[in-house]
């Protein structure tokens, strides 16, 4: 353990801590763009510079480990002046696109520009221009908004182990791209979207689906595999009711905010027009030909009729009465063991508990199972 002083406050911390981490433990704000707590330090953006007694020039706090007796100042007139210049430099090559940028309201760059009051730019000059050419259906990459912070590169490598992207070219021409700018070999986990501090990476599905202020966030659990990642559903009011418009995961969840392609991008089934909305009762026989369910060459269960031609809509009362009376009839005629229930690993504990109770206590059989066996 070492003891250091930051802005006059003393703290005792382990040796391998960085000055930035120590300041954050003390709730002292230091602005950052490239730093991400789950990724290795980069020291690229220079916003986190601090003054350390005995060191003649400002140093980046994200890459500087603490040492015994260190005295740190995080906010001096000189530091704030330098930070403002850094902001001006970054923004001199950034489109003034906040009006329609998806990231507006949740953009670190925008926040810092606001904080430092940077609008007119005395450093305006040549700008990088890129045509958007990503063919992928998940992630929008707008390289003009990229500040080369390397968070996406690090997430892709350190967290995901994919290394789909890295820095290409040098100097002003630097950009984040695939090897030789050839095909993107990507798992589309969207970790890059999650860590991007600007609007350079956004999800295509949630483009123009609503500003942050219109969105209600609900914490829940991913519906796909058994990992049980904690997710946050972003819900927006729309004319037809409320709609889930985006999925994210918070950094302080047990899954550290990381998700996979299904968890992050696979939510559009929720308000899909195909959803069943009314109870349905069969009107055609189950015989393949008569019902229209015919055996296509490579599609044994496909139907040339729409499924809705096989059924008619019913009220809940009618459908439930029908279910109850048929089950009762079959139980009386053939015994409880002639009935079975298949419960669902997609449903909640409570639903599964109730359904097995229903099959056992109401129907009177132990013929209950679910896909755990498959």
């Amino acid at each position: 353990m070492v003891t250091i002083t930051i802005d006059g406050k003393k703290i005792e911390i382990p040796e391998n801590t960085t000055v930035l981490e120590a300041a954050r433990m003390l709730d002292i704000p230091i602005p950052t763009l490239c730093h991400h707590p789950k990724l290795t330090p980069f020291g690229g953006c220079r916003m986190c510079i601090v003054e350390i007694k005995g060191i003649p020039r400002p140093v980046t706090s994200c890459t500087t480990p603490v040492s015994e007796g260190m005295e740190v100042a995080t906010s001096t007139a000189q530091l704030e002046g330098l930070r403002k210049t850094v902001m001006e430099l970054i923004l001199s090559d950034h489109p003034n696109d906040c009006m329609i940028c998806e990231k507006a309201g949740a953009c670190t760059l925008q926040e810092l520009a606001y904080f430092y009051g940077v609008r007119e730019n005395r450093l305006a000059g040549e700008r990088r221009t890129y045509t958007k050419k990503d063919g992928n259906p998940f992630i929008e990459r707008d390289l003009e908004k990229c500040i080369l912070c390397s968070r996406c590169v690090k997430a892709c490598d350190e967290i995901q182990g994919v290394e789909a992207i890295d820095f290409g070219y040098r100097g002003f021409k630097s950009k984040i791209c695939t090897s030789y700018e050839k095909d993107l070999d990507c798992e589309f986990c969207g970790q890059c979207v999650a860590v991007c501090p600007t609007g350079a990476h956004t999800g295509k599905q949630w483009a123009f689906k609503g500003r942050q202020k219109d969105i209600r966030e609900i914490d829940t659990v991913c519906p796909y595999c058994g990992t049980g990642c904690n997710i946050t559903l972003h819900v927006r009011k729309s004319v037809s009711g409320e709609e889930v418009v985006r999925v994210t995961s918070k950094e302080d969840t047990w899954n550290e905010g990381w998700l996979c392609v299904k968890g992050r991008f696979g939510y559009k089934f929720i308000n899909n027009p195909d959803r069943l909305t009314k109870p349905l009762i069969r009107i055609t026989p189950k015989d393949r030909e008569a019902s229209g369910v015919k055996r296509e060459e490579n599609s044994p269960y496909d139907s040339h009729l729409t499924p809705y031609e096989l059924f008619r809509e019913a009220t809940w009362d009618e459908a439930l009465d029908y279910v109850a009376s048929r089950l009762k009839e079959i139980k009386e005629k053939h015994g409880a063991d002639s009935i079975g229930g298949l419960s669902s690993a997609r449903c909640t504990n409570e639903e599964n508990y109730l359904f097995q109770k229903f099959i056992r206590a109401v129907i009177g059989t132990n013929n209950i199972d679910h896909c755990a066996r498959l």
């Binding site: 182990g161 609900i218 058994g226 997609r346 132990n366």
Partner: protein
């Protein structure tokens, strides 16, 4: 899982067998990669060159269905080299000596012959796993979907017992569960032989306990397993099925057979969120709410009970499953009056003490892993701390038996099935997500380049794959992911359903899980 997911970071050795973790449990793979960056050694045993191989110290490319031989071979080497955990065996296990004799014949050379894994690699893997006292085994369906699935699991357990790699932090046996709440639905007793909490239906005292709790007489007879219900429906013994949120007409083995069985039912109720293939054969379809439209809990693969919350209303007249079940129950003369889903969880906790300490309030921000018997119990991150519930654990000798279907002249390829990264299971959800469908919307069969060349099949060609059960047409993907003689078809695509080819007769001898991982097939161009 006996461990929690977080504990992966602390493991010295991770042994992944029969799990394509990077594609089927991507965020658990992230945790493994995090461990790998800190120096953890990873062993991958799989018939396919799965993406985790990139991070593996050792890749054991075994033939499908030969896991028992490989696992026994590892045990053989660990015994021979004397790196087993004698203290643990003496203190916590029984049957060691008898079992020891059963792995005697599994020399690395003999195992190489069966599995195709070089004997040198078997020795290296045994030293790596056996030499560590902080190792975890991870498996999924590559282990269980075999006629010898139970044997495979026993062989895994033996390996953990032999090395004492269980019952401590970052040390254990970790089956990764494939569905959001497959752990929870098993816990809740959606199984034919046990009530909630794995309490057997055919033990009179337990039956009495539940009769008292539920106020009705209960059947003392074990029920039919899902893989027994389908043939029973075909024979007319099962007349009615009530199916919630499952789609056996894509996921069951031998789909032609499954279709006939479902068609033969007198009455089929399907309660789901989409018009699935199974729903199309229903007499009544009841529209249900999806996860985002209801309150409740899911239990993840590490036994953690987590809260799910209602974010939006169900579409149209759709109702949540709880309401529907209560309505039907009421009409059959057994009113279930629960005010909220939490009341149901409370009742669940009363009949199964492992959940008794969990309330919605306690899991408001963070889930709690069971067992959690009291309201002030913190939950259990890893199982078997301080011993096993039954006292000493028995080594169970398992012999190697080949898969039910062996390749022959007519069906020379081994078909293995599974999931890919993008689609999910029967596809009723992911196939309705436009970007996923745009990126991975087409069924394919993975074929080794050497086989492709021999059969004159090029990448992208449409081929016919035939088994004794049926045939499908599907696009060929030429790739080194599969070895010569083996093909892989993902299960998600109803229009080229892998399960038309799989067998409903090759079932695990004990728990009747279908052998989805080995079918003999032929490819025709």
């Amino acid at each position: 899982m006996t461990n929690s997911i977080k504990e992966i970071e602390g493991m010295e050795v991770i042994f992944i067998i029969g799990s394509n973790t990077k594609e089927t449990h991507p965020v658990i793979a992230n945790r493994m990669i995090k461990a790998y960056r800190k120096g953890t050694k990873i062993i991958v045993a799989d018939p396919r060159r799965v993406p985790m191989v990139k991070f593996a110290e050792l890749f054991l490319n075994l033939r499908p269905g030969t896991d028992v031989a490989l696992l026994n071979g590892l045990a053989h080497v660990i015994l021979k080299e004397g790196i087993y955990n004698k203290e643990f065996i003496d203190e916590k296990t029984e049957g060691f000596n008898e079992w020891k004799a059963s792995v005697e014949k599994f020399t690395p050379e003999y195992v190489e012959e069966i599995t195709g894994v070089p004997s040198g690699d078997i020795i290296k893997a045994a030293r790596l796993y056996g030499g560590s006292r902080k190792a975890g085994i991870f498996y999924t369906m590559g282990i269980t979907q075999h006629t010898c699935g139970t044997d495979n699991v026993n062989a895994i357990a033996n390996l953990a017992l032999l090395t004492g790699n269980i019952g401590r932090e970052s040390t254990g046996i970790n089956p990764l569960r494939g569905q959001n709440n497959v752990q929870g639905s098993s816990d809740a007793g959606a199984l034919p032989n046990v009530y909630p909490g794995y309490q057997r239906v055919d033990v009179p005292e337990i039956q009495n306990k539940f009769e008292e709790a539920w106020g009705v007489e209960l059947s003392p007879k074990q029920g039919l397993k899902s893989t027994e219900m389908v043939p029973a429906a075909l024979k007319g013994k099962i007349k009615a099925l009530y199916v919630i949120g499952e789609n056996p007409l894509v996921t069951d083995p031998n789909l032609n057979h499954t279709f006939e069985a479902f068609k033969n039912l007198e009455f089929l109720v399907v309660q789901d969120i989409f018009m699935t293939d199974t729903a199309q054969l229903a007499d009544v379809i009841l529209p249900a709410a999806c996860f985002a439209e209801k309150d409740g809990t899911f239990t993840n693969t590490e036994r953690k009970v987590q809260r799910i919350r209602k974010a939006v209303n169900p579409p149209g007249e759709a109702k949540n499953d709880t309401t529907i079940i209560m309505e039907v129950s009421k009409r059959l003369g057994y009113p279930m009056d629960y005010e909220s889903s939490e009341e149901v969880l409370e009742e669940f906790g009363r009949v199964w003490p492992a959940l008794q300490g969990i309330t919605y309030k306690r899991i408001e921000t963070q889930g709690i892993p069971w067992p959690c018997p009291t309201k002030d119990h913190p939950g259990t991150e890893y199982l078997y701390k301080g011993g096993f519930p039954r006292g000493k654990v028995h080594f169970t000798g398992v012999n190697f038996l080949p898969p039910a279907e062996i390749t022959d002249k007519d069906y020379p390829f081994v078909l293995t099935t599974g999931r890919n990264l993008f689609q999910y299971h029967a596809g009723s959800m992911t196939r309705r997500v436009a970007p996923i469908e745009a990126h991975a919307g087409e069924a394919y069969v993975e074929i080794n380049p050497a086989d492709g060349e021999r059969l004159n099949i090029k990448d992208g060609d449409i081929v016919k794959v035939l088994s004794r059960r049926g045939e499908i047409k599907i696009k060929a993907r030429i790739t080194n992911r599969v070895s010569k003689g083996i093909i892989f078809i993902p299960m998600h695509y109803r229009e080229a359903a892998a399960n038309v080819l799989t067998s409903d007769e090759a079932l695990d001898r004990h728990v009747k899980t279908p052998e989805y991982k080995v079918s003999a097939v032929r490819i025709e161009k």
